[in-house]
């Protein structure tokens, strides 16, 4: 279990890092396609609220998992 926890830690951290450029690129594409107020509000919420929370928590969680910080829980 310990090895799986550590291995998955890399996956979570990579996901957290990968989500940042992906969300920014998607937001720019969508807003350029249709620059409506509705689109601006939606992507602002994604970029300012959701994306930072997901990215920060996945990266930090992944690093903790990789260091074996969750091993003693089991």
């Amino acid at each position: 279990m310990s090895a799986i926890q550590k291995l998955l830690g890399i996956v979570w951290a990579a996901l957290g890092v990968g989500i940042i450029p992906l969300a920014i690129k998607q937001a720019m594409t969508e807003i350029a396609k249709k620059p409506s107020e509705e689109n601006w509000i939606f992507w602002s919420i994604v970029l300012v609220v959701l994306m930072p929370i997901i990215a920060f928590s996945l990266i930090s969680f992944g690093v903790f998992a990789l260091k074996g910080e969750y091993e003693q829980l089991n």
């Binding site: 279990m1 926890q5 107020e37 919420i45 969680f61 969750y70 089991n74």
Partner: protein
């Protein structure tokens, strides 16, 4: 000796019941206050946020979203810190007063027609205060109840707090319905909508009175007496590695998945019935209400079960079945309401035309009623409004002349019951993930920083991940629409958001969370 033990046990149960009562009533009222704004959104929008004023319209959008998921985590931090510094009892008394006071004042604010821009601005601020108070309430109530509960019944007792969100929704809908029926639609739209807001002050007064009589949590009192309370709960919660890693585990392994499952079962299901299946307003609300009423006791069932077999696998199983079965469940719901799958009795079709002139506009209404062999009825109301003057009409942009179309499907008894069953299954998922979660969160953190530490992941999981379900799911469905006037290619596409979040959360929770209910740390 045996008699003394039995008397002491009875006293303990009675005392815990009082604690549950005091906490649950207050939390229920907070949810009531929070929901009436949402339930009366249309009227509030007409009164305070006129669409022809872009700033007011923007404030309306912000009021909806900001209170839901930006302010709630801040409330969790602010009141959580306060709760760990001065105590649980006084903190969740303050949140109750702020929530009730804001709700009451919303009922008094003059409309946009009377005081202009001040109206939406005041309501916006009051709505933010509501979000802030809600962010502080839940953690306090859950912590307070858990710290009073017998060790091996923590899941059972805290699960009563979990039922309050659903009951709060009921009470809000019930009060609105009663006031609307008593006053009539016209008086309700003019001023009667204020009554549910004003009523809040009486409910809050009763709850404050009950809570004032309660004593502080025994664990917190002990810490305070020994001078061991935290001096900086925020720093201890989020700057110390040992605690931060548990906050992250709570969020990614439990509350994010629980939040999306909860919002999908309780709110998205209703939106799907009304918008994708076109089920008539009253019938769709009855479907959800019955499913919620029948499902609510299961919060307590799964809370109690978690005391016996552990919190982890009940929550994980709830998430697993939810994300695996969402698409099949919604496919059945969609197909059962889809008129393309039904045989129409064409000779029964009725078409009515109505025309009227109002000022310089001509109003044309076409009502089409269709009947189907399985007992389903369908009503389409098409309203066209255009200037009487042909020259003015010709000069108008086409989108302004677009007719307003309302589609309503009424299901026969057997399909109505089937829909209740399908929503009920989703409510069971909700009770599995939500019933044990208060006890689970309480057990993750030490008493000195419990209020702060558990409130943040709970409100990010529910407010942000859960609260975004309607917005993101609607966008995902819209993205499959080939053209603005064509139906979406995949009406179930909105489910991908809760499915992915619940699946990731399931993997994290299964791999990293331990199952055994923890002894809660007295420090």
């Amino acid at each position: 000796m045996a008699q003394n033990l039995s008397a002491s046990h009875t006293e303990e149960v009675t005392s815990t019941r009082k604690v549950i009562m005091a906490s649950s009533v207050g939390t229920l009222i907070e949810w009531y206050d929070f929901y009436i704004f949402g339930s009366l959104a249309k009227i509030i929008s007409e009164q305070f946020f006129p669409k022809d004023n872009p700033t007011a319209a923007l404030l309306a959008t912000l009021a909806t979203f900001a209170a839901g998921f930006v302010v709630r985590p801040f409330g969790a931090l602010f009141f959580g810190r306060l709760g760990d510094l001065i105590g649980r009892k006084y903190t969740f008394l303050v949140t109750l007063v702020i929530m009730g006071g804001s709700t009451f004042v919303i009922g008094l604010v003059p409309g946009y027609a009377q005081i202009g821009f001040f109206a939406p601005a005041i309501v916006f601020v009051l709505r933010l205060l509501q979000g802030l108070a809600l962010g502080g309430e839940y953690g306090g109530a859950a912590t307070y109840v858990a710290e009073h509960s017998p060790i091996h019944q923590r899941g059972y007792w805290t699960s009563y707090i979990q039922t309050t969100a659903t009951f709060g929704l009921f009470v809000s809908l019930g009060v609105i319905l009663i006031v609307r029926q008593s006053l009539g639609l016209e008086a309700f739209s003019a001023w009667g909508w204020r009554v549910p807001f004003l009523l809040s002050i009486f409910l809050v007064a009763i709850s404050v009175f009950i809570r004032m009589k309660m004593s502080e949590s025994p664990m917190f009192s002990k810490l305070k007496k020994e001078g061991k309370t935290s001096t900086n709960p925020l720093a201890e919660s989020f700057k110390q590695k040992d605690n931060l890693k548990m906050v992250l585990l709570a969020l990614l392994g439990a509350t994010a998945g629980q939040g999306v499952v909860w919002y999908t079962g309780q709110f998205y299901a209703l939106s799907f019935l009304q918008n994708a299946c076109n089920i008539e307003f009253v019938q769709s609300n009855i479907i959800i209400s019955i499913a919620l009423v029948v499902g609510t006791p299961f919060f307590v069932v799964f809370g109690a079960l978690s005391d016996k077999i552990g919190r982890k696998w009940i929550m994980m199983l709830g998430m697993l079945i939810a994300f695996v079965s969402y698409r099949p469940i919604y496919t059945v719901m969609y197909n059962e309401a889809n008129l393309k799958n039904k045989v129409e009795i064409k000779e029964k079709t009725v078409i009515e035309h109505k025309a009227a002139v109002k000022g310089t506009d001509s109003l044309k209404t076409t009502i089409t009623k269709k009947f189907f062999e399985d007992g389903t009825t369908f009503k389409e109301t098409k309203k066209e409004k255009f200037p009487v003057d042909a020259a003015v009409k010709a000069a108008m942009p086409k989108d302004k002349l677009k007719p307003e179309v309302k589609k309503e499907t009424t299901l026969p008894q057997n399909l109505f019951v089937k829909m209740i069953g399908l929503v009920f299954i989703q409510v069971i998922f909700v009770t599995m993930v939500y019933g044990p979660i208060a006890a689970f969160l309480v057990e993750l953190f030490p008493t000195r920083i419990r209020y702060t530490s558990m409130s943040l992941p709970y409100h990010i999981g529910n407010g942000v991940f859960g609260g975004l379900v309607p917005l993101i799911s609607t966008r995902l469905v819209e993205a499959t629409r080939p053209a603005a006037d064509l139906p979406p290619a995949d009406p179930l596409a909105g489910l991908w958001y809760p499915i992915i979040i619940a699946a990731v959360c399931f993997v994290i929770g299964s791999v990293y969370i331990k199952n055994k209910p923890a002894e809660i740390d007295a420090e």
